[in-house]
């Protein structure tokens, strides 16, 4: 037997006529709340088109920052005892992480022109961890359709807010260590990630439609392999510094070297 919400409401409201105007609002309100529940993620779509080619050429190099690096944000993590225990006092955020001899970490290098065709996404997932109240790694690149595994190693609560513009944005709760989600992105873009519980936590996940990308490590080095012969434009992107590009032509089997130099002028 189906419950009759309306008749129940009228009975309770008969005692006080002034409540009558409220009756009509309750059922639509319940439907509205139900309609707003987050939907399941869309199934992965394979883009149509000729298959992309792989080759034997490569480009490698080093990214360096010249000049005095811009000051990074400093934060205190006193709002969460767990985070504060791991980072007591003021902590510098690794927005511009410069190593020895100006080696610049967390620079994304990706081919923006010259690569054509559809490349299959690897089935192997890449992992974005939340560790010590920071994302690890801070900059990560995946292919369109490649699974991104989001995990938390922290014994505190996090939320994972992916502020995607081209793909579907999401906000996931990670209430306990060991929590994990897997998501895919179907369109190329650099998706900013943030934790709104701990607003200093930032990460950037670059979604690229081909396998020709790399992210610099602490030594500032990168290598993009498997390129077919051809002319390419490569973009070097950093979260704070103005984007650089360079163009090069590669022959089959050629291993080219290109260093990228950022000047220490913070972006607005």
């Amino acid at each position: 037997m189906r419950p009759d919400f309306r008749s129940g409401a009228s009975k309770s409201m008969k005692t006080f006529p002034a409540f009558r105007p409220l009756r009509g609002g309750l059922v639509p309100l319940a439907f509205l709340i139900a309609a707003c529940s987050p939907k399941a993620p869309e199934a992965s779509k394979v883009p149509a088109g000729p298959p992309g080619k792989l080759g034997t050429a490569a480009v490698a190099g080093r990214v360096i920052l010249e000049g005095v690096p811009p000051a990074n944000t400093r934060v205190t993590m006193t709002t969460d005892p767990f985070c504060n225990g791991r980072h007591p006092g003021e902590t510098e955020m690794p927005e511009v992480a410069v190593g020895s001899e100006g080696a610049l970490e967390n620079v994304l290098l990706r081919v923006t022109e010259g690569a054509s065709g559809v490349y299959p996404a690897p089935a192997e997932a890449k992992t974005l961890d939340q560790k010590g109240c920071a994302y690890s790694p801070r900059v990560l690149a995946i292919m369109t359709g490649q699974p991104l595994k989001i995990v938390s190693s922290d014994a505190t609560i996090h939320n994972v807010h992916a502020a995607a513009k081209e793909n579907r944005a999401f906000n996931l709760g990670m209430p306990a260590p060991g929590a994990r989600y897997t998501r895919t992105f179907e369109k190329p873009e650099i998706v900013p990630f943030r934790c709104d519980v701990h607003p200093w936590m930032r990460a950037f996940v670059a979604v690229v439609p081909h396998p020709f990308f790399a992210v610099t490590g602490a030594d500032g080095r990168f290598e993009i392999r498997g390129l077919p012969a051809g002319t390419y434009t490569v973009e070097a992107w950093h979260e704070k510094l103005p984007t650089q590009t360079f163009t090069l032509t590669l022959a089959d089997g050629q291993a080219a070297t290109r260093d990228v130099v950022f000047s220490a002028v913070p972006s607005a």
Partner: protein
């Protein structure tokens, strides 16, 4: 008791109404802290928080879940206020305002939930901010209408020697000032929820000029930010004009004090707007800017309500009601 059943409310009614209005103001401040600290999505689900009634209150959860808890308490208080107003036989208008406040705060809760589930779309977040001020206005008006001051004002208004033209002018200006303040609050909400608070980084100039030029307009949020800061001067001028018009009606009790308060609030609000820019959106500055904006709006609403009351109780109105021509009454 007036013709619509109005009488001096009992102490419990007065205390309840005042407590509810103050609580709504505190709820506004709690909401301001959520946006000012960037904690709007610190809790990804709604109506529960991480599937619980009480998640760990760390980081941004303290602000977001704290706001939800205060909102639930205040919504309950607004609901209970209806019972108090109903059972204590308050006048019909006040009771209806109580119902409207309860309906509005329920709608406000739904908007709050929607904006979380849809990841803070500016339209819903701005509507949430705008409706909050409507709830504040309704509850503040109830507090006014159930106060001893309202009874005193009602007694004094018919005998006050107030020129009809001056009162009508003050009334028009108060309505315009309150309306403009509300529009400004909505513009502020758009600036806040589109992240345009620092789209123009200097104040009082904009990019070092009176008006941004050329490519500066292409910057994200520049148009919204500039509209908000420019319209602020129009609002300030209207509030000053209305407040000065109120001062000429000092035969009516309370209006002079309200006028002074209104002038202080508008000066403070302009200063807080500037401070928000100068401190690159310090949490205390942006939250205070929102709170004082609310008080500025309420001052306008209360002025308009009092002047409407004075007009309804004036000898002019009595004569007009009796069918005499206005000229004869004047």
């Amino acid at each position: 008791m007036s013709d619509d059943g109005e009488m001096t409310p009992s102490r419990p009614v007065r205390i309840a109404a005042r407590t509810v209005a103050v609580s709504v103001f505190l709820l506004l401040i709690a909401g301001a802290l959520v946006t000012s600290t960037g904690s709007g999505l610190a809790v990804p689900d709604w109506p529960l928080s991480y599937g619980k009634l009480m998640p760990p209150m760390v980081g941004g959860i303290l602000y977001e879940h704290g706001h939800r808890m205060i909102a639930a308490t205040v919504a309950t208080m607004v609901g209970l206020q209806i019972l108090v107003l109903g059972f204590r036989r308050t006048d019909r208008t006040t009771f209806r305002l109580g119902l409207a406040a309860f309906g509005a705060i329920l709608a406000q809760a739904v908007l709050g939930g929607l904006t979380v589930l849809f990841l803070l779309p500016p339209a819903i977040s701005s509507a949430h901010a705008g409706l909050a001020q409507i709830v504040f206005a309704l509850t503040a008006t109830i507090a006014l209408r159930t106060s001893l001051f309202w009874a005193r004002f009602t007694d004094a208004a018919p005998r006050a020697a107030v020129e009809h033209g001056l009162r009508a002018r003050a009334s028009r200006l108060a309505l315009w000032a309150a309306g403009a303040t509300y529009v400004q609050i909505l513009l502020g909400a758009i600036v806040r929820h589109t992240g345009a608070g620092l789209a123009i980084p200097d104040w009082p100039l904009s990019f070092g000029k009176v008006v941004p030029t050329g490519a500066e307009w292409a910057g994200d949020g520049v148009l919204a930010h500039f509209t908000h800061r420019t319209f602020a001067w129009a609002v300030a001028a209207l509030v000053v004009a209305a407040a000065l018009a109120l001062r000429k009606l000092d035969a009516l009790p309370g209006l002079r004090r309200l006028s002074t308060l209104w002038l202080v609030l508008v000066a403070l609000q302009v200063a807080l707007g500037a401070t928000s820019v100068w401190t690159t959106k310090a949490v205390w500055a942006t939250s205070a800017h929102l709170a004082v904006g609310g008080l500025l709006w309420i001052a306008g609403v209360l002025a308009a309500v009092l002047l409407a009351r004075a007009a309804a109780l004036s000898p002019d109105a009595a004569v007009a009601e009796a069918g005499e021509p206005q000229e004869a009454a004047a």
